[in-house]
Amino acid sequence: MLARTITHALVGLDARRVDVEAHLQNAVPAFAIVGLADRACQEAKERVRSGITSAALDWPVRRITVNLAPAELRKEGSGFDLPIALAILAASRQVPPERLARHAAVGELGLDGRLRPVGGVLAAAEGARRGGLEKLLCSAECAAEAELAGIEAVPVRHLAEAVAYLRGERDPPPVDAPSNGDRPEVVCPDLADVRGQERARRALELAAAGSHNLLLAGPPGIGKTMLARRLPGILPRLPPDEALEVTRIHSVAGMLAPGRPLVTIPPFRAPHHTASVAAIVGGGPGPKPGEASLAHHGVLFLDELAEFARNALEALRQPLEDGAISIARVGGRIVFPARFQLVATMNLCPCGARGDPAAECSCSAARLAAYRDKLSRALLDRFDLLVTVPRPRARDLERAAGETSDAVRGRVEAAHARARAGPLHRSKEASELLSRAVERLPLSGRGRARVARVARTAALLAGADEVGAEHVAEALSFRSPTELGLR
């Protein structure tokens, strides 16, 4: 007896249709899974056997062969448990096989038959919709996520519920609305906590309004990290299409917060400086998205930039240029989107005392040079805004709290809206100032373009009709004159 269920395997962020065929033969009882299944997938045997028994259903005492087709596609993970169990139950006619045909299924089984959530449900649901299927059987926790793809999710908590539904005995309770509903928003730390630091705050606002990459340099303990962590709070909320893109990536990585299927706040990723190249750009045998992709449409924050492995930093140059990472494998090439805003901090020297009037730097010239040599010119050129933040005086810390994130976000959103409205021209005085600066300061062609970009953002924030000389001047001041002493 033969039966078939439909599920999906992930290739990067793409779901490919997989047919799960179960065949029961009258022979010595045995259970085999074929079709390039990985280890987690092979272990499905034990979970499926226990799950079916725990659901008070019959485990067919026959020779069971499960085939995952197409056989040349690598299958990973535990999401195949539910489709395998349903295929076996259909082959033994415990559920009607013809009902299964219009459903896709995904989910991991517990030994007690309970259904567990898995990653990548959104991608699987989108694959199902593209394949013309109407419904997706998945765990109740994942149902809201699946409905984002515009497919009807059948939320099941237990294998027995799935069987009852397929037999037409009773429908499972409906899922919550797919929107995040009335749940409170994830709290971002607020800019009001930062006292003083007006210049750094201004740089942060410019970075948010123009999606500029930002490098904050200064001695330790002055709030560089604190400032950077407040960037997502002043970024505009993600528009629906971008929110869906981000959700897909986070879903594949298994990182969606429970009960909040749609990611609406720009993600903020802060990998530690010991992170490997694969951890940052993604990788693995069946490639998984790395931190750079998880920060898609959000912020990739590298604290202590100069402490990162040089090859990990150089690997970021491709996504910074193209907004995507392509990972080549023998079996093909996978492209992960990675259009992020890079924010980094660094000390001015390895001992950290430089720029701090209260301490004396003990670094030798050679050590200082080695520290700064870790950052290639090519990478530093990607930062539109360079701010050196000195240690604030004690009386600054006693000042009143600064503006709140909401107030700043209002201006940033207005700037984004104006940017969409149309191009902004540069006034004659502004162009003259820019030419004078290129002559007077050591400013490369790329450096000139950076200044022009930041000047445009300053004009957008100010709501000006054109880019004026004052905007170019402000942009020039955020390009450290000696580029952090790197010549």
């Binding site: 003083g196 201004r202 040079a369 300061l441 100010a462 004052e470 001041s477 955020f478 000696t482």
Partner: protein
């Protein structure tokens, strides 16, 4: 030709040679030495040599009691550049941002007024003095403590190219001579020897810059020292010089007076009101941007605009987040 043989012999033996050695080894070397082909190989590498007995050899250098047998030259300027009125600017390699900015300002203003700036291509004060001279559109001379073909330190290779474009890089050592600690004091005697005056910007006790000052005093040259904070180790050397009678340097005009030159009238800055207020706030001491904002009442955007205007006018420089006025207060 004998001068060239001496210089080549010094490179061959790795020693330091001023007068003709009496040893047999030199006599043997002298017999086999082919001056013509040596000069040809120099020319092939765009290098030149001016010997002690040639007319182009700088007169002031000849006054030393141990003038080098000759100087190797690299760069586009004529050898006569070495005989023009010159001033040495030297100081600490690990200088403060203040020291670096002062060296640059002096290099710029003195070069613009027509003096040749002589220094040692080292990191810190030396490098900034060269950069200032290039910014001021003047000529500058770098004296090396190693073979003439080598850029030492390597980090200043680009600066050396800039110097060669309008000035000279010189050394008493033939190509191939490695830098060694004992060669730098010998190099300093040339820096001091080329100039009627030497300026020490920042120096610790027992610093190389003080050796240059000693050579200058020994040769009867004028020594200027830039006064520094008495609590900073970077000014112990310069303040000690002042105590011994060096001339305190308060502006480029002090030096120009000695040469009978007029300062190139630092053109009045034409500043906006915001920029003028910021410059005013910086007159007393360097400050961070946020402090300037509070002192002037400007918001972050207006302040950044004013700072960029001042920076372009060459009135303010930033280092490690602190802004500093780099013109003499009027």
């Amino acid at each position: 030709m004998n001068d060239l043989a001496l210089a080549a012999f010094a490179a061959e033996t790795g020693g330091h040679v001023v007068d003709e050695p009496k040893e047999l080894r030199f006599a043997r070397f002298r017999r086999t030495f082919d001056g013509e082909s040596f000069r040809a190989s120099l020319e092939a590498r765009n290098l030149r040599f001016v010997g002690r007995s040639e007319p182009g050899y700088p007169r002031l250098l000849r006054e030393l009691h141990d003038p080098p047998p000759g100087l190797f030259l690299r760069g586009s300027a004529d050898v006569e550049l070495l005989s023009e009125p010159a001033v040495a600017i030297v100081g600490a390699r690990m200088c403060s941002s203040y020291g670096g900015q002062v060296a640059r300002m002096l290099g710029r203003e003195l070069a613009a007024a027509g003096l040749v700036i002589v220094s040692g291509l080292a990191r810190g004060v030396d490098g900034e003095a060269h950069r200032g001279a290039l910014e001021g559109g003047g000529a500058t001379v770098a004296v090396l403590g190693c073979g003439i073909e080598r850029d030492y330190p390597a980090a200043h290779a680009q600066l050396a190219r800039g110097i060669c474009a309008s000035g000279l890089v010189v050394s008493e050592y033939a190509p191939g001579v490695e830098p060694a600690p004992w060669r730098f004091p010998a190099r300093n005697r040339i820096i001091a020897g080329l100039c009627p005056a030497a300026i020490i910007v920042e120096a610790r006790e027992r610093s190389g810059a003080l050796i240059t000052a000693d050579f200058a005093l020994e040769a009867g040259r004028e020594v200027f020292a830039v006064p520094g904070e008495i609590t900073s180790t970077l000014s112990t050397g310069t303040n000690a010089l002042l105590r011994l009678g060096a001339t305190p340097l308060t502006s480029a005009a002090d030096v120009l007076e000695l040469f009978g030159l007029e300062p190139t009238g630092s053109e009045r800055l034409d500043l906006g009101t915001d920029a003028a207020a910021v410059l005013d706030a910086l007159a007393r001491e360097p400050a961070a941007a946020d402090e300037l904002g509070r002192a002037t009442g400007l918001d972050a955007a207006a302040l950044a605009t004013a700072l960029a205007e001042l920076e372009l006018a060459g009135a303010v420089a930033e280092a490690d987040g602190l802004f500093r006025g780099v013109r003499r207060p009027e």
